[in-house]
Symmetry: C2
Subunit: 466 residues, 2 copies
């Protein structure tokens, strides 16, 4: 009933729903305009980062963030606002120090990598062996790093679509395993980031069962420059001290919906993640994403719209810390996965969206044409290529359950200047760019939820839609 | 003798000195080209910041930096390389922490201000009163801050010539005095900087004899944003802990010269400062400046030139920590001040020079015309206005002894993003821009030292040279 009331409160200019394509198209454009003008999404983000701040998965702050988000969703008129809880390892950063101690004492800006073991109480002091790339480390013979600290000095390349991350991040994820295999007592990496500030980039790292779990940390790019310059001159010794701790805890995924009026079981899933690293306040990663997704759905509610299918906003917990919780969501929802008609994720900051890709099955469809028409005025191209990737939170349901993906490409030219650093704060978000993201996602969510299209089907026009 | 050998080793293209204006002009242009191509200045800076790093006035590191610089000057063929030592208070940063503790715990990026008193051992915890400007603090009645932490939230304006610094810096210099007068137990300021990174800007602050010496610190701009947003919502409590210490020590000024062939007692003084804050490695402030000045003189040596007057490169100690040592240099040299024919300072990073101003007495002179001709191809305008300011190191000899000033204006659009932060590292210096600075100063130094002009005299053409 509430939803029908919403509809009847819609602006007079809104023609009553009749299922026609032209109607949906006008509605999407109108929605985009209204979404662009709303402050709700930005306010959500501002309050999340101001009143809660950092919200590490498994922490008390994450619980508070979940309570905050659920409260906002309820007040905004979302249906079925609820929590889904999953076990998680809470990794808590402690004191951390890195110093060059030879040839002379110089302090380095350092951050332990997520899941890193702590160092022994007194720290580790050892000679540093610098590798110019991850490959160079791989090429080092077994045993060659015995008693040494391995340093991977691979630079990350700046690219609009963030492609440099995929290339560089292996140092962070697998570096400790590969360094330990060769005898190293610790791993230090050049930050996986495109900036040149004294703010190290943290992020997830992995261990392997059969290899010693050595401590792993990132130093800032200017510090990596310094270390590389010194190493080119002679032996460098480093002292590394990390006091982080791991405990078992639980993470919270927050869900809110706009229930579909005709096919409530069919779900258009809009995902982002609520948890964040704790060096910054998680504004671009991924406060922006959850603000965008919730803001997009809120715009639909505000317009009194009531689509055929359900729109589900999912604010995932524990994206950053990886693995388990995202898989757990997939496991918990596998039985309904066939009803998730399409899923999208916003987890790349608040840079403007500049392109879009729909599943192959939808290319050339009325849906795709309506979407193209709605987002082109917002500065978004529809790509000729079909969508092929979503994001970490939804890759489980995509890969295991075949849920089709919508993909909006954001301008990430500067995203990795900030990503996973203390600099991830509200000032890095441009409210107008955030609003453009909200408008694009609102248009998409409305069109997808109001459509009957089966995104899984291979449309005969796929590939010929160019 | 050595100097004459240098001359005879000059390039064949160099016409023998005959005192003619055309000759000097060609020489300056040739010198600028050669100076631009030399790596000596950049190497000096790279090695200073890499091998020594931070060099706080009065510290062991400053002594090491002085030894390094003197060694480089000697190897480069400078005459009379020597130290001049002055007493200084060595202020050493200790552990420092600032947290918002109400409405919820949030860590702030903080840096004690130079000369700040430490907090009591357990730190200070108090409510914060936020002032949007320094003036707002001044307007607060006496006693109104009893038991509170005063926070000055004045933003610094970005400007090419850095004019925003002069307006904003009063918060840092006098804020603790004014806050203490009104009863505050500590002062916190928004960083005096134009960036939005989690890297606070330190810098000099002052106390007054009759006012309690309260601890004073800067928080980064994003942290100041957060604090201001929270303060707009309700009461904010902060905990501040600073463990810095002050001890009596000495600072070292390093001097090297190119002795004049005709008037060795007449000095063209090129100044910068060798000391630096210790959060970064003092690359732009002021490693660049001393590299530029030494590099300019080195270019003259490399060309085998031997000017009439002495060129003196002075790498001041204790510029950052202020007051005493610079005055001490003035006092030590007051008796020769009449022979310092002109002085210039490079202490604004390595941004390109884009304008120049000569003393009123020199406007329209052959010297000014030659200088204009030499630097215009380097992208430097000669201003119609005479020079009116030099810099902190040379203001003593200018104001007390009337030493005329040369002033080259550098592009400082981004200088205050970095200034006095941990981000003051070598990567912030563009080698080509540094080389342009060296070329400009080399041209000037040669022309001024080869000239007979009396910069103190009021030229009849001054003001009409437009």
């Amino acid at each position: 009933m509430k939803l029908f009331r919403r509809l009847s409160n819609a602006l007079p200019a809104l023609v009553l729903l009749s299922g026609g394509a032209a109607l949906a198209d006008d509605t999407a454009s109108d929605l985009a305009a209204k979404a662009s003008a709303s402050h709700w999404g930005y306010d959500f983000l501002a309050d999340l980062t101001t009143d809660i701040g950092p919200r590490m998965s498994g922490s008390k702050a994450e619980q508070d963030a979940a309570a905050f988000a659920a409260d906002r969703l309820k007040k905004a008129g979302f249906d079925d606002v609820h929590f889904e809880k999953f076990p998680v390892t809470y990794w808590a950063r402690g004191a951390e120090e890195a110093d060059i101690v030879q040839p002379r004492l110089q302090h380095l800006a350092v951050a332990a990598l997520g899941h890193s073991a702590p160092t022994p109480a007194g720290g580790i002091e050892a000679e540093v062996v610098v590798f110019k790339s991850y490959q160079a480390l791989i090429d080092a013979p077994e045993g060659s790093l015995k008693g040494k600290i391995a340093m991977i000095d691979q630079h990350m390349v700046r690219a609009q679509d963030g492609e440099g991350y995929g290339v560089a991040v292996v140092s962070r994820v697998n570096g400790a395993i590969e360094a330990a295999k060769r005898g190293a007592v610790a791993l230090v990496i050049r930050s996986i980031g495109t900036d040149s500030h004294r703010l190290p980039h943290t992020g997830l790292m992995r261990y392997s069962k059969d290899v010693p779990k050595i401590p792993a940390a990132a130093i800032s790019n200017p510090d990596a420059d310094l270390l590389a310059r010194l190493a080119a001159k002679g032996p460098v010794k480093m002292r590394l001290k990390l006091e982080n701790k791991s405990t078992e805890s639980e993470t919270i995924t927050v869900v809110g919906e706009i229930k579909g009026r005709e096919h409530p079981e069919q779900v258009v899933l809009l995902g982002g993640h609520l948890d964040s690293w704790e060096l910054g306040t998680g504004a671009i990663d991924d406060g922006a994403g959850v603000a965008i997704m919730a803001g997009a759905a809120k715009a639909i509610i505000d317009q009194g719209l009531h689509p055929k299918r359900t729109i589900r906003v999912v604010m995932f917990g524990a994206e950053e810390i990886g693995g388990g919780p995202v898989d757990a969501y997939e496991a918990a929802h596998a039985k309904e996965a066939n009803n998730i008609v399409i899923a999208g994720e916003s987890d790349f900051g608040a840079g403007k969206i500049y392109n879009a890709a729909v599943p192959a099955g939808a290319q050339g469809s009325a849906f795709a044409k309506q979407l193209t028409a709605a987002i082109l005025p917002l500065g978004v191209d529809m790509l000729h290529e079909p969508s092929s990737h979503g994001g970490a939170d939804i890759e489980g349901i995509h890969e295991k359950d075949g849920v089709p993906l919508i993909d909006f490409g954001q301008d990430g030219t500067h995203y990795f200047d900030i990503h996973h650093t203390a600099d991830d704060t509200l000032d890095k978000v441009n409210p107008a760019d955030l609003a453009q993201n909200i408008a694009v996602w609102a248009s998409f969510a409305w069109l997808a939820a109001e459509s009957d299209i089966d995104f899984r089907a291979l449309s005969s026009s796929a590939g010929s839609a160019k």
